[in-house]
């Protein structure tokens, strides 16, 4: 009896992450380890350091709940047998992006880049690409916050070179 200790270890270890503005987030270890930046923090110091707070200097607390939600759900999708139906994953992803402004999306891309997680970064950059696909130059300038440094004559000339690419665009 004394030998069966497996049932008592159901308590999942938690790691504390600290967002740029100082707010703390308790995260289950497997979820936190999805982020390469967090993982590399512990490499070589596995046991001794687990109680430490991991500072995430480039991630604001505003986006942390959504990012953690993405990791929790996607790691659950991966573990499940049989795998979840594609519609379920799609529905989650769509709901995830709903009500996110372009600015919020770009901030999350930079956070995902800092956290060094391919899955989230791929998902978000694909979403950003979809938002500018078939849009006008003006729309894309505003999207990336680029100032127009062309004179109207210069721009007209370059536009004429690629005239075909300006046909049949979506409305901004």
């Amino acid at each position: 009896m004394a030998s069966s200790s497996s049932s008592s270890s159901t308590q999942v270890k938690k790691i504390t992450l600290k967002a740029a503005d100082g707010k703390h987030f308790e995260v289950e270890e497997p979820v936190a380890m999805e982020m390469e930046t967090v993982k590399s923090f512990f490499v070589g110091n596995e046991d001794a350091m687990k109680d430490m707070v991991v500072p995430l200097l480039n991630v604001s607390s505003e986006h942390m709940p959504a990012i953690l939600d993405f990791y929790r759900n996607h790691s659950e999708f991966r573990k499940r047998t049989p795998p979840p139906p594609a519609e379920e994953v799609k529905a989650f992803n769509e709901a995830f992006l709903e009500n996110k402004s372009d600015e919020q999306l770009m901030e999350m891309i930079m956070a995902a880049n800092f956290l060094n997680t391919k899955e989230l970064l791929n998902f978000l950059t694909e979403a950003a690409a979809n938002r500018i696909k078939n849009k006008s130059v003006e729309y894309v300038r505003a999207f990336f916050g680029i100032e127009n440094d062309f004179t109207p004559e210069e721009e007209a000339r370059i536009r004429a070179e690629n005239e075909w690419a300006f046909d049949g665009l979506d409305e901004d």
Partner: protein
């Protein structure tokens, strides 16, 4: 909005179709002005090459000036590195320097810029003798090397006429155009640096190719006034109808596009799409 690193913008743009990228190309006009290197003596002509090397993330310009003070030969190579923002001089691989055609064309292949150059050896009895060499300027090592020439460059007949070979880039390989009075041959070096891999691709009596298009079916374009022809290995030569231009036309210049901004070489900056000018004689 906060500053977005250029690699993230590239990541997003790389997911878009070509049509979108063509439309967004006039989004910025980033460019870099480079101060001309002053060369001692009167420059008779010069060869210029340009290339971007991913492994060292740098754009380089290579210049072989042929000056009067160099005894009518080019003795040193000038290299500009966009990363270091300066020119440097490199002594030529050839002890006595070399000459070249005034309209010399360069080809960027395999991290090196290639030129066709020649020695002129004054032979008292038989007039001028030429030895033609294909030189490669390695942009990583900043070194000039000689490549093994195709067979025709070694023939006896070739030694007594001014060389008229030109290098090009076709499907990732270096190629050389051999123009004689009666015909034009295209040779390709299938395995870089290997003499035995030189293969004769085709012979034509049309004008020499204007440019090499390196897409899936590698082919090249030949232009005569009012006539545009393309060649590929399957269909050979065929003429392309140009209906959008009235009257007489010809093509003067070509350029290649790159997504690597000259300004990002030192520090990352915002979105980019630069055009690089490629000199070409027509």
């Amino acid at each position: 909005m906060s500053y977005i690193p250029s690699d993230l913008i590239e990541d997003i743009l790389s997911r878009l179709p070509v049509k979108d990228l063509c439309r967004f190309s006039p989004t910025t006009k980033e460019c870099e002005t480079i101060q001309e290197e002053i060369v001692q003596g009167h420059v008779i002509c010069e060869l210029i090459g340009f290339g971007y090397v991913e492994s060292i993330d740098d754009y380089k310009i290579v210049k072989l000036p042929w000056t009067e003070t160099g005894g009518s030969r080019s003795e040193e190579v000038k290299v500009y590195s966009l990363k270091n923002r300066k020119w440097k001089s490199i002594t030529s691989y050839f002890d006595s320097g070399f000459g070249f055609e005034g309209h010399g064309i360069s080809a960027y292949v395999n991290g090196a810029i290639h030129f066709v150059v020649y020695y002129r050896e004054d032979n008292k009895n038989e007039g001028n003798e030429y030895q033609t060499v294909i030189v490669a300027f390695d942009l990583v090592e900043d070194k000039l090397k000689a490549l093994p020439p195709p067979d025709f460059m070694l023939t006896e007949a070739y030694r007594y006429c001014e060389p008229s070979a030109e290098v090009g880039h076709l499907g990732g390989c270096l190629c050389v155009l051999n123009q004689t009075d009666s015909r034009i041959e295209l040779w390709i070096m299938k395995e870089y640096g290997v003499a035995a891999s030189w293969t004769k691709l085709f012979i034509t009596d049309e004008l020499p190719p204007l440019c090499y298009l390196n897409n899936n079916q590698t082919h090249l374009v030949i232009v005569q006034p009012n006539k545009l022809m393309v060649w590929d290995s399957e269909d050979g030569l065929k003429q392309v109808e140009v209906t959008c231009i009235d009257g007489h036309w010809k093509i003067e210049n070509l350029y290649m596009e790159s997504l690597v901004s000259p300004n990002s070489i030192i520090m990352p900056s915002s979105t980019k799409k630069m055009k690089r000018q490629k000199t070409n004689s027509c």
